[in-house]
């Protein structure tokens, strides 16, 4: 037996993610390049449309002329900028972010930009460059920073300040990382295109290392209402959250705590709630025992008279914008979209949106083309393990909606909320949470019904014309043969006369659909 003593120590969050870069999506150079573009573009969009600004985003990737594996990514936005004092930590301290509030943003873990910089530091070693000016800032600040991994804090390599004469605001981030463009190219182009579908109000310009330029111009000035901060909804809080809320509240009575700190609860409802479960409304919440806390959590989850969660802190894209986006990028024959009512998942509101596009320029395919989004972020990897894939490929019987594969069918699914149940830190697929699965399924059924109606109407009109043609095409043949059979008759009947008589009969029956047809020979080209 060779029992050795153990050494115990603590590591910083930066070191944790440095050691485990794969779990944040930086598994290899190709994946890392894609992930880096994504993280930076999402930050740029969060800094613009979330604050009501029509986004202008410029993305560029350059290949180092000497070190072919080194790529410089630069993303520039016209967003709200970052106040100077926060710039170093916002980019140099893992788990430091403006995103730790209850509000829907694209990035949620507050990891993204830091992981890009950390990965660049591991593979290339150049400092990252950040230029930013907040709104109304008189100056533009420029920082070159690195991350102290052991201590999880920024190292400021250099700093610059310029006067802001043009009133510019926004942020530009430039990072050098090891990448693999040829293997990442398709995914990155896809990512940009899918982003453009749900942000038809944005200008997006993308310069590739090959010197190509992809431009997606704004097609509408409408922008979804920006998300706002909110309080938790009583359904789905947990014991730990209740404890934190109680420790932070200023309310001294239970009734005030319930009605002030939660969403969807007024004074009357709060009182009815407390009475029903036997709590003393005037009790100081900080004096609740462990058992009472447990009971409170259970009661909050169970009580069904709270108002439904408001959606105003969320920012769905909206059915109209989804239709505009699908139309402008996919150019289909038919499009529709729906924004569902909000639902609650673990105390957080979630809204599901579904779009459908059919025919036109969409190529028929054996499977549904699925465009997945979470908080406006396109999800490209792990499609088959996403709950939306399960819905479109297993739950829905498409033949019921008149769709037979191969079919030119695209379904867009957007999930927005302050908390999205991703399956991994890579944020690439959504877990099979029943309430979300049900919402997606209902949404898909709604737009699929709309497509079914459209297809049925179109079919009816074709059907009548088809019937008439089915008969008219035989008129000359029938006339010709009957004429032969009449040859021996006392009065021989002319083929052309018979033909005309028969055609009159058909016209009588299908008249209204035959505007342009005045003779059987408008249909029949030849008999051979």
């Amino acid at each position: 037996m060779s029992a050795t003593a153990e050494k115990f120590r603590s590591i910083s969050p930066a070191e944790f993610f440095y050691r485990n870069k794969e779990i944040a999506g930086f598994a290899n150079p190709a994946r890392a390049l894609y992930q880096a573009v994504r993280e930076l573009v999402e930050n740029a969009l969060d800094a613009t449309d979330a604050h009501g600004i029509l986004p202008n985003i410029e993305v560029s990737i350059e290949r180092d002329s000497v070190k072919q594996y080194v790529y410089r990514i630069s993303v520039k936005d016209n967003g709200i900028g970052i106040p100077e004092k926060y710039i170093p930590e916002a980019f140099g301290k893992v788990l430091f972010s403006s995103k730790y509030v209850l509000r829907q943003t694209r990035g949620l873990f507050g990891l993204g930009a830091k992981m890009v910089i950390l990965y660049g530091q591991m593979t290339v070693g150049e400092p990252a460059e950040i230029i930013s000016a907040a709104i109304n800032s008189r100056r533009i600040y420029s920082y070159r920073i690195m991350i102290d991994v052991r201590e999880n804090k920024p190292i400021i390599v250099s700093k610059g300040v310029w006067p802001n004469n043009t009133g510019w605001h926004g942020t530009m981030v430039k990072v050098a990382i090891e990448g693999d463009w040829s293997r990442a190219k398709q995914k990155i182009l896809d990512y940009i295109k899918r982003t453009a579908i749900v942000t038809p109000y944005a200008n997006i310009v993308f310069k590739t290392p090959d010197g190509e330029i992809y431009t997606y111009l704004r097609v509408t000035e409408t922008i979804p209402p920006p998300p706002r901060e909110t309080k938790p909804h009583p359904h789905g809080v947990d014991l730990e959250l209740i404890k934190t809320m109680i420790s932070e509240t200023k309310a001294q009575r239970l009734i005030d705590f319930i009605s002030e700190e939660f969403q969807g609860v007024g004074n009357v409802i709060a009182e009815r709630f407390l009475t029903k479960y036997g709590f003393d409304p005037s009790k100081d919440p900080k004096t609740l025992s462990k058992e009472e806390l447990e009971l409170l959590v259970k009661a909050l989850k169970e009580f069904n008279e709270f108002r439904k969660p408001r959606a105003d802190h969320l920012s769905p894209i909206g059915a109209e914008l989804i239709k505009i986006g699908l139309n402008s990028i996919l150019k289909p024959e038919f499009v529709d979209a729906v924004t569902r009512k909000p639902v609650v998942y673990e105390g957080h509101s979630i809204i599901v949106e579904v779009g459908i596009a059919y025919g036109g320029s969409i190529q028929p395919s054996e499977e549904v083309v699925l465009l997945r989004y979470a908080n406006k972020i396109p999800l490209l990897y792990d499609e088959k393990s996403d709950v939306a894939w399960k819905v479109v490929s297993e739950n829905i019987d498409w033949s019921y909606y008149g769709i037979v594969f191969p079919a030119p069918l695209a379904i867009l699914v957007h999930i927005c909320g302050t908390k999205i149940p991703y399956k991994g830190v890579g944020k690439e697929s959504i877990a099979e949470v029943p309430v979300i699965e049900k919402e997606i399924e209902e949404g898909v059924r709604q737009v699929a019904r709309s497509l079914k109606l459209y297809l049925a109407r179109k079919q009816k009109e074709e059907e009548m014309m088809r019937k008439a043609v089915t008969i008219i095409k035989y008129v000359p043949e029938v006339a010709r043969n009957l004429a032969v059979l009449s040859k021996a008759n006392p009065v021989r009947i002319d083929e052309k006369e018979l033909e005309m008589k028969i055609f009159e009969l058909v016209k009588h029956k299908y008249g209204e659909y035959l505007n342009n047809i005045s003779s059987p020979y408008d249909i029949v080209i030849g008999i051979e």
Partner: protein, 392 residues
């Protein structure tokens, strides 16, 4: 008609042509009249469906009922069939007038051509008047019932496989043929057996053998001489001429007819065709069927014996084991269908078919010649006839 053509052709044919052509023309005159009056052109055709088929128990015949259906040109579902019917009528009419003897394959070719048209989506499409012969065959049958003329009456020929030998003289065309003087060969029956004249006959029964090779063996071994039989083979599924010929032997010469087939639903079906005809072609039955034909064998009780009647099987245990073939699914299915046919709803047939369904086994006639030709000729067949061990 040229002089040479006339010389080569019998006067019976010429008369038949005139009758048929007139009947055809008259039948379609009313369609033309309707059109000229601005009325919907509709063919009213007797239904050839099971539901419109009546089994005349007394005569033992399948007959067409009085049901009809309407084929209107203005009905989208019927327009193509209507066009095909008119087309077929014209082709047959022309063949009659031009002294031809078309086959059903000829009719198919004569009518097959294509119509080019613009469809409802403005694509240019080609459609054939018919694609496969089964389409033209179907409208030919419609015309047979619509005009009430069998195809033979319209001088349409078909492939014929039937052969006959026996102590009998017949007249066909201008020739007298002695069917007992065919050497090792046989007389191949013509397409229009109604034109055959029976001169004289010296036989006591007719034996119809499903399989040509068995027919040859029996012929060669002198079966018909020894047992005073007319020996016929249908060489498989019987054609119309063989059926009509057998019917005439039975009806006009009063010879009992025994049918020998494989012991399986297909063999029973062949017997059923001889005796009754096919359900979907019940209109032929009145002239082609032989209602009194008897199923001589091979029956299930010949193979397995029958404990209820004390009958011993003709096969030993080990012969059964080697000769029997396991029934296929389609056999089982066909047997179950046969149970529904009126004329199989007799005690003996029910027992026969149920024994098959129970044993799920079938047997070929060759299993008996395999056992020995003289066993078949001098034991099996005479015993079966003598002891009346057959099914009607």
């Amino acid at each position: 008609m040229s002089e040479i053509e006339k010389k080569l052709m019998s006067s019976v044919d010429i008369r038949a042509r005139q009758i048929a052509a007139n009947k055809l023309r008259e039948s379609f005159e009313k369609i033309i009249e309707a059109i000229m009056k601005g009325e919907e052109p509709v063919l009213v055709i007797p239904k050839r469906t099971l539901s419109n088929t009546i089994y005349d128990r007394e005569r033992g015949l399948l007959l067409l009922g009085s049901g009809t259906f309407e084929r209107s040109f203005l009905d989208v579902k019927e327009a193509r069939k209507f066009m095909q019917t008119i087309l077929m009528a014209r082709i047959i009419y022309e063949a009659l007038v031009n002294n031809e003897y078309p086959t059903i394959r000829d009719l198919y070719y004569r009518g097959k051509h294509s119509i080019r048209y613009r469809d409802h989506r403005n694509n240019i499409v080609e459609e054939n008047t018919w694609d496969e012969q089964k389409e033209s065959d179907a409208v030919l049958r419609d015309i047979e019932v619509y005009v009430n003329l069998l195809r033979e009456e319209m001088l349409i020929l078909s492939k014929e496989k039937g052969k006959v030998v026996g102590d009998m003289r017949i007249k066909s065309g201008d020739d007298i043929i002695d069917l007992s003087k065919m050497g090792h060969g046989a007389y191949a029956i013509e397409s229009t057996p109604d034109l055959i004249e029976f001169i004289d006959v010296n036989a006591e029964f007719v034996l119809v053998v499903e399989k040509d090779a068995v027919f040859q063996q029996l012929h060669r071994a002198g079966f018909w001489k020894r047992y005073k039989a007319i020996l016929v083979t249908s060489a498989g599924q019987p054609d119309r001429a063989t059926r009509r010929f057998v019917r005439r032997l039975n009806e006009e010469l009063k010879l009992p007819v025994y049918i020998l087939t494989d012991a399986d639903p297909y063999g029973w079906y062949i017997y059923s065709v001889f005796r009754i005809g096919s359900i979907t072609l019940s209109y032929e039955s009145e002239r082609l069927a032989t209602p009194s034909a008897k199923f001589l064998g091979v029956s299930m009780s010949d193979i397995f014996g029958d404990k209820t009647t004390g009958k011993k099987p003709y096969l030993t245990e080990s012969e059964r084991k080697n000769f029997i073939i396991k029934a296929k699914k389609t056999d089982i299915k066909r047997a179950q269908e046969l149970l529904n046919y009126e004329w199989f709803k007799t005690e003996k047939w029910t027992r026969e078919i149920n024994m098959f369904l129970e044993k799920q086994s079938k047997l070929e006639i060759e299993a008996l010649t395999g056992k020995g030709l003289y066993f078949l000729m001098d034991n099996y067949i005479p015993t079966k006839i003598e002891t009346k061990d057959f099914i009607e």
